[in-house]
Amino acid sequence: MDGNGRWAQRRSLPRTAGHRAAEATVIEIIETARSAGVEWLTLYAFSTENWNRPGTEVDYLMGLVRRVVRKHAPLLLARGVRCRFLGVTDPRIPRELAQDFDDLTTLTDGNRGMTLTVAFDHGGRRDIVEAARSLIRSGRSADEVTEHLFAQHLPYPDTPDVDLVIRTSGEQRISNFMLWKVAYAEWTFPEVLWPDFRAPDFLACLHTYRRRDRRFGSLPPWTNGDSR
C-alpha cells in the first residue's frame, strides 16, 4: 500500500490526507479480491521500519487504523472475511488498538470466505528470528530441522506461500515483507499510487499473474523444438 504520501503531495495536501484516502482503496480491494475468488489476501499496512516516521504521522495512522477497523468490522463479518493481524508486537501500539485487533480476530474467526491478513508492525526478518527461537525452544536436534518444520514455527503456519505480490506506486523493493513466504512469489509493480488503485487495476494484476509461467525453479513443462 505505497504512495499515500506522494498522492497527497501532488494535491498539495498534508500526508495524512493520503492515508485517509487509502481507506476507500482498502475496502474496495478487499471486496474485489473476495468476489474474484482470492482466498488469501494480505495487506502490508505498517512495517517495523515505519516506526521511524515522524511521531505525529505514526499517531495519526494508529488512530486512523483504529477507526477503520471499527467502522468496517460488521461488514467484514457479514462478508465472511476472516481477519487476522500479523505482527502487532511492539509496545508502542496503543492498547486500545491491539484490543480492537483482537476483537476483530475473535469476531471473524469462524468465517471461511477469504482470509485477510493485515501485516501491521510486521517485519519478515523478525518473523524468521522468532521462528528460529521457537524452534530452538522446542528442543529439536539440528538434523531434524527441515524447511517444512521451520515453516511450522512461523506465525500463522496455515498461510500458504505467497503467489503474487502487488506493490503500488512503482517501488520495486521487497521491504522486509514476509521474506520466507515470498520465495517463489510473482511480483507486479503497477505505477499507480495506492489511493488511486482501484478494482480494474487489481484485476489487471491478477490477469498478468495468470499469464505468467510459474516454473518454481525447474524447467518449463515443455519447450518448442526441444526434444529433451
Binding site: A73, P74, P94, R95, E96, D103, L104, L107, D109
Partner: protein
C-alpha cells in the same frame, strides 16, 4: 441427646412424607427460582449475626470465589437432604470437621466459634424463615400443616448436624418468638452483611462459563447487581433494616414483591426446565474439560466472546482519540507474581495472605477429593506448616500476614520443604488406591478435567515425583500450567 434424633427419624407413621429425601418440602423448593432470592436473604440474615459475620469475614471465600462456594453449598445441601442416611451422616461429619477449624476473634475482639450451637441453630432458622417468607412474598403462602412439616424438616437438619435440635424451639409457635427476639436483640450491621449487600453483587466475578466475556458480564452485572441488593434489602425484617440503617427507597418494596412474584410464576414452566443443580453445574463448567456438555459450553462461550467483541467494536469511540497506553487499569500494572497472588493465593479476596487463605485451599482440596479423617487433618497440617514457612520467609513487616508487595518481593525463594510436604500429602490423598501413581479417575477428581499427560513422557499415569514437581513449581513460581490453573482460580 440422641433420643431427639431417633424420635425425628423413627417416630412417624410410614404414610407421612419423609423428612429427608425426595418428597420432603425441601426437595419441592430446591429447583424453585424463588429459592435463589430466599437464599441470598437468608445469607444476609446469617451474616448479620455477629458470630457468623466474623467467621464469614475471616474465613469465607465467597467474595473471591462465589460460584465455587455456591456449587459446594448446593452439593452439600443435596447430600444433607439425601434419602440415604449414610450419605447424610458422612456429610454432617464433614461439615462438622470443616466448621471445627473455624474460630477466632472479630474486629472488636469478641471470640467466635463456628461450632457454637446457638449460632448454628440461627443458620437453620434463617433458612426456614426465608423459605416461609419467600412463599408469603410471592403470594402463595404456606398453610399451617406444610409450615409445621417444613419446620420439622429443618429441625431434623440441625439434629443431623448437631446431634439434637435443642437450640431451636420445639414448636413452630415458639419459633416465631425466638426468631423475632434474635432479630431484635442480636443482629448487627456487620461487615459481612454489608459486603454481601453492597460489594458482592457489584463485583461478582463471572462464572467459569462466562469468563471469556467480561464486557458482557460487567454490563449485565451493572444492572442486576444493584437490583438484587435493593430486592434483598427490601425483603429483610423491618426491625433489622432499622437497626442496620439500611436505606428505604421508594418503589423497592414493589420491586421486591414483583421479583418474588415473577420468580414464583415460573412454576407454570414445564417440569425440568429449571434444575438448580444443572444450572450451577453448567455455570461452573469450564470450557475445555472433557465433560460432554463442555463442548456445548465451549461453543456457547465462543459465541459469547464474539458477541462481546462485536459489542466493543461497534460501541462508539470515546471522545478522547489520544493514542498511547493511557487507561491502564489496576490489573494491567500487575506483574505475574502479583497476578498469581490475587488469583490463587488470596482466596478470601481481602488483599492479604494469611491462614484463612491457605485453609480455604485445604478446604477446597478436601472437598474435591472427598477426604475423610485422618487424610483431611494431614492435608490441613501440611498447609499449616507451609503457612508458618511462608510467614517466616515473607512477613517482613511482622503484622502476621503477607501483603502482595511482600510476596512479589520474595517469590523466588518459596519452594521450601513445607511446600514439598504439601505436595506429597496431596499426592497421597489423591492417590486413593495407593499404587504410587495418579490414574485417570483420581486425576479427574482433583482437577475436574480429563487426564492427559504429555505423550512425550510416555507414562500413562501421573507419577509421584512428576506430580510433586509440577505442584511445587505451580505454587511457588506462579508458573501457569493448564490443569493447575483452575484448581484454585475458579471464581
Amino acid at each position: 441427646m440422641t433420643t431427639d434424633t431417633s424420635r425425628t427419624h423413627t417416630g412417624r407413621p410410614d404414610d407421612e412424607p419423609p423428612l429427608f429425601g425426595p418428597g420432603s418440602q425441601f426437595h419441592a423448593f430446591f429447583d424453585d427460582p424463588r429459592w435463589a432470592l430466599a437464599i441470598i436473604r437468608a445469607t444476609v440474615l446469617e451474616a448479620a449475626h455477629p458470630q457468623i459475620g466474623a467467621a464469614l469475614a475471616d474465613n469465607s471465600t465467597f467474595v473471591a470465589h462465589p460460584w465455587r462456594r455456591l456449587r459446594n453449598t448446593l452439593l452439600s445441601m443435596r447430600r444433607m437432604y439425601s434419602g440415604d442416611p449414610a450419605v447424610r451422616e458422612r456429610e454432617a461429619a464433614r461439615l462438622n470437621r470443616l466448621h471445627a477449624r473455624m474460630s477466632g476473634e472479630d474486629s472488636r475482639g469478641r471470640p467466635y466459634d463456628a461450632m457454637d450451637r446457638a449460632t448454628r441453630a440461627w443458620v437453620v432458622a434463617t433458612l426456614f424463615e426465608s423459605a416461609v417468607t419467600m412463599c408469603r412474598l410471592s403470594g402463595q403462602p404456606l398453610d399451617q400443616d406444610t409450615m409445621e412439616r417444613m419446620y420439622a424438616e429443618y429441625r431434623a437438619y440441625l439434629a443431623a448436624l448437631d446431634g439434637d435440635a435443642g437450640e431451636l424451639p420445639e414448636s413452630l409457635q415458639d419459633f416465631w418468638g425466638y426468631f423475632d427476639r434474635v432479630v431484635e436483640d442480636e443482629l448487627e450491621n456487620t461487615e459481612a452483611a454489608r459486603i454481601i449487600l453492597y460489594r458482592l453483587f457489584d463485583h461478582l466475578p463471572a462464572p467459569a462459563l462466562l469468563d471469556g466475556a467480561p464486557t458482557l458480564w460487567a454490563a449485565g452485572r451493572a444492572v442486576v447487581g444493584p437490583l438484587l441488593g435493593a430486592i434483598t434489602v427490601a425483603s429483610l425484617p423491618e426491625p433489622y433494616r432499622r437497626r442496620a440503617g439500611l436505606p428505604e427507597m421508594p418503589g423497592t418494596e414493589t420491586l421486591m414483591r414483583g421479583a418474588y412474584l415473577a420468580a414464583g410464576l415460573t412454576r407454570f414452566l414445564p417440569r425440568g426446565w429449571l434444575d438448580a443443580e444443572n444450572i450451577i453445574e453448567l455455570l461452573t463448567l469450564s470450557p475445555g474439560g472433557d465433560d460432554p456438555r463442555a463442548r456445548t459450553a465451549t461453543v456457547l462461550r465462543d459465541r459469547m466472546k464474539r458477541a462481546s467483541a462485536l459489542l466493543r467494536l461497534i460501541s462508539p469511540l470515546g471522545g478522547a482519540h489520544g493514542p498511547g497506553p493511557v487507561s491502564g487499569s489496576a490489573h494491567e500494572g500487575r506483574g505475574p507474581a502479583e497476578e498469581f497472588f490475587h488469583q490463587v493465593l488470596d482466596q478470601t479476596g481481602d488483599g492479604h495472605l494469611d491462614w484463612p487463605d491457605l485453609a480455604a485451599m485445604a478446604r477446597e482440596l478436601s472437598t474435591r477429593l472427598d477426604l475423610e479423617e485422618p487424610e483431611e487433618s494431614r492435608l490441613y497440617d501440611a498447609f499449616a506448616a507451609w503457612w508458618r514457612e511462608l510467614q517466616d520467609a515473607l512477613d517482613t513487616d511482622g503484622d502476621g500476614r503477607v501483603s502482595a508487595a511482600e510476596y512479589s518481593a520474595a517469590v523466588p525463594s518459596l519452594a521450601g520443604p513445607a511446600l514439598i510436604r504439601v505436595a506429597e500429602v496431596l499426592f497421597d490423598a489423591t492417590d486413593k488406591d495407593g499404587n504410587g501413581t495418579i490414574d485417570a479417575d483420581e486425576y479427574r477428581a482433583l482437577f475436574r478435567t480429563a487426564f492427559h499427560r504429555d505423550p512425550a513422557t510416555t507414562d500413562s499415569a501421573y507419577g509421584r515425583s512428576a506430580f510433586v514437581g509440577d505442584f511445587v513449581s505451580f505454587m511457588s513460581g506462579g508458573r501457569t500450567s493448564s490443569p493447575y490453573d483452575p484448581l484454585f482460580t475458579d471464581a
